[in-house]
Symmetry: C2
Subunit: 516 residues, 2 copies
């Protein structure tokens, strides 16, 4: 079999059966092989950032890698921002990039670029295939690297001639190394910290933010009065229904430092020490009190859930009765605000929903109300690169066909990768997109003052403004094949969002927010 | 003054008075300074690839750099594909990227990335500012690096605290080194080659493809029977009216090798040895005959125009009478094909138009007819990264407000950076966009076969198809604030394109082509 077929078969043998792609000439052998290698689902994105972000969303929901297939250096470049987010999410992705054929390399053709250099900043593993016969083993090595733990982007660069040449048999089936538990000494030491009665926090991220992790942390909270905090930029967090809540670390450092004030020991569970999103003049970037001592219960590649359960058992912490779910009240008759949207969504969303949340300035008005929704998963921005919300929603919908995906999108952020809508339409994915249209990079009004800049003058204002002209998200969505409506009152929003929850998607609601 | 103001004033003192940006928190000081530093025009792009491509288009038309202002690693990443094209175009660009404040670096915040690593593959010069007081001199160094010759992308990475700190006086006004001429020995030697009577070709690129260069080359052609070839991926080529034509090197290697067959000596004028776009099984990537000997009249950083004129004088080559311009005949009553569009555009476009040409499979049907248009400039894809056509058109329109810009766009390519339309609407730029809607990555049907892949099966077909669903470019354009119409016959196209030539833009025409 040729190299392309060998690669596809190696991926499939390892359970990688989704390839999200924007291929070009150097990847045509892979595309051709889709018809000869049964089982590989090809999904086309019309921009590479759609592909990389969708693979991230897929990985966050399944824990398994999808493959991406991109065209040469520039195609990879277009995917980098969402690979950056995937890197911060610790998402496993097998990123395949076509390269010029080896006899064409060195000719400095127009598309020639340093693909490895593009790949390195976002990838935990980068390799250019060295000969066609190494395809199988190199593909297996890429999968091994991708699946971790923890997950990472593994970039395999394939010269075109190795795809069309004889490559031999597929590579080995590889196993993910199990996530290890901490040593019993670590568990005992941390149990002692929790028994001390001093102010202790548990900071959860990674897999620890799944329901089992949160339940184990809640046992610890109830038994020891430790507080349970959540990394706001973790890949995925279970929430709603009877899933115990964690205190999410706020975005701005003052609020975060205030929340964490008095914490003397912070126990990290698949989490890093908390830092602010940006640095500001005269403010600390670290969020825990300066004198806080950190303990690592589970590192990023360890089993945070198992560690929390062990620790809870060690402390004899019993089960905690579930609290009652209080769903938000529908904002009937209200003006359409971010808070009203949050309440409507929290009231109407079905059990098992997945939120891809790329709200920015509106986030704090929406977030509290989602807690009243039935049990769901929440996928935040991990690496801060906007333009991930729609692709991540797309990938989550590919991963979980039976679940309702709701993309909560800022209008500024949605614009970066709006091509995602087309793929949602093609694949008939059950995604409801809510565009929070405040017609402004609103967060920058705040950040402008925080970085010490003076008042926003008229010329600066132009750089933050999205009203001249106003993007029309209904037309944009319809232009990409996704039915869309505009809501300007809470009642309209309730009606349209209810309809979207009843019927399969994709559909888009442009929620027009009042100007500040 | 603070660092941001120092940087803006250094740019302005050096004639860099346009900044195309998609800023974030770390760049707010620059945005704020726009209101305190008169003369800097800020133009907002809603995606970074719009900014980098627009700066490329601006540079190609003015020979001068614009600045780009991008947000941290991921913002830069989104601009890389069009910086790749700019690198291949030898376009001068001062690329400013905000970085986290120095006290925030090392905290591994969500947006932390290796910005220099992202910048290096596309930049001839990369530097992270080392202290606020070095702002002026470092900005001057960036400008010096950008302007060359030849031009290049100079990436200046500015930690946020150096923008808000006191930075002292602006940097020096720098001068571009003049492009040098070849030695008289080189000119004499190449004159001898041209006098030999053997089959000689001149291959022009860079500034040599401007009207003066083509006229000098035409004197050589008339005096010596040398043939004059044009790099098809040069940054900018003058054409139409009485500008002498050059033979453009074809896209596919067989056609290019056939065109160049028999050439014994090839004289390079700001050009590299010609190579094919892609490598194919069993085909050479080099396009000149294997035994062809190359001579360099002017290297990429030299004065190709001056060198050609000197050579023509050395050979006593007199002026060549202008040929008559034969405008194409309007395709009245015809079906709407790429050829009909080419003829209509060639017949209707005014003198001094600028074509941003990102047609792919349709290119050969359009290109010949543009030769019959009045004198114009043609901006092709330089680095092969699609998604440059709309941004380059935007930048050319910013550069040349009195000239009509026509973007000839493949529907697949236009999708990558469609956000460009919004900036065209905001800046009320006189751009007419023609979307050649064949609803397919058509070139890949050809490339699939050429790379040796088998027939396009149904699953491969899905990866090339743009009909399920069909993007609606009228809605997409209107959604971004640009008026748009659809044409399905040549008569409709003629009517709409004529209207677009009469009235200022922007406006978009979706030209629906027959399915293959």
């Amino acid at each position: 079999m040729n190299g392309a077929e060998c690669l596809l078969r190696t991926l499939l043998a390892n359970g990688v059966d989704l390839c999200i792609m924007n291929p070009g000439t150097s990847e045509m052998q892979f595309v051709s092989a889709l018809d000869r290698v049964p089982g590989m689902r090809g999904v086309l994105g019309l921009f590479e950032g759609v592909c990389s972000g969708a693979a991230d969303g897929y990985a966050r929901m399944t824990g398994r890698p999808a493959a991406t297939l991109l065209h040469l250096g520039p195609g990879l470049a277009n995917g980098l921002a969402n690979f950056h987010n995937a890197r911060k999410a610790l998402s496993p992705i097998v990123n395949i990039v076509g390269e010029h054929s080896t006899q064409h390399l060195g000719q400095d053709a127009p598309l020639t670029a340093d693909i490895e250099a593009f790949a390195r900043p976002v990838s935990g593993w980068v390799r250019t295939l060295e000969c066609a016969s190494a395809m199988g083993e190199t593909a297996s090595a890429a999968i091994t690297a991708a699946i971790g733990p923890p997950g990472q982007v593994a970039s395999l660069i394939v010269p075109a001639d190795y795809s069309w040449s004889e490559a031999g048999e597929p590579g080995a089936v590889v196993q993910r190394a199990p996530r290890s538990l901490p040593t019993s000494e670590t568990v005992r030491d941390i149990a002692a910290v929790l028994r001390s009665g001093r102010p202790v926090g548990l900071l959860l991220s990674g897999t620890a933010l799944q329901a089992r992790g949160l339940r184990a942390a809640d046992r610890l909270r109830a038994a020891t009065a430790a507080r349970v905090f959540a990394n706001r930029n973790g890949a995925r967090m279970a929430r709603g229904g009877d899933i115990p809540a964690a205190e999410r670390i706020p975005y701005f450092p003052e609020a975060a430092q205030s929340l964490l004030a008095g914490i003397e020991r912070m126990i990290l569970v698949e989490a890093k020490r908390p830092v602010s999103f940006f640095g500001y003049p005269g403010l600390r970037s670290t969020l825990a009190p300066p004198e806080c001592v950190f303990d690592i219960l589970a590192s990023l590649d360890q089993d945070g859930i198992g560690a929390l359960e062990w620790l809870a058992d060690e402390l004899g912490a019993g089960p905690v009765p579930s609290g009652a779910v209080v769903r938000p009240v529908l904002p009937i008759g209200e003006p359409l605000t971010a808070s009203a949207i949050g309440r409507a969504v929290g009231a109407l969303v079905p059990e098992g929903a997945i939120f891809s949340d790329e709200t920015v300035s509106c986030n704090e008005q929406i977030w509290p109300h989602l807690a009243g929704a039935p049990a769901h998963d929440h996928l935040p921005v991990t690496g801060g690169s906007i333009g991930q919300g729609l692709p991540v929603a797309l990938g989550a919908a590919l991963a979980c066909p039976g679940r309702k995906v709701v993309a909560l999108e800022a209008d500024g952020s949605a614009m970066y990768t709006l091509q995602s809508l087309w793929t949602m339409a093609r694949e008939k994915l059950d995604v409801t997109i809510v565009i929070l249209a405040n017609r402004r990079y609103r967060i920058l009004d705040v950040e402008m003052k925080r970085t010490g800049a003076r008042a926003v003058g008229p010329r600066a204002d132009e750089m933050l403004d999205l009203t001249r002209p106003e993007p029309d998200w209904v037309k944009l969505s319809e232009g990409l094949g996704v039915q869309a409506v505009r809501a300007t009152t809470a009642d309209e929003f309730i009606r349209e969002f209810s309809a979207a929850m009843r019927e399969p998607g994709p559909r888009l609601i442009e929620a027009v927010l009042p100007r500040a």
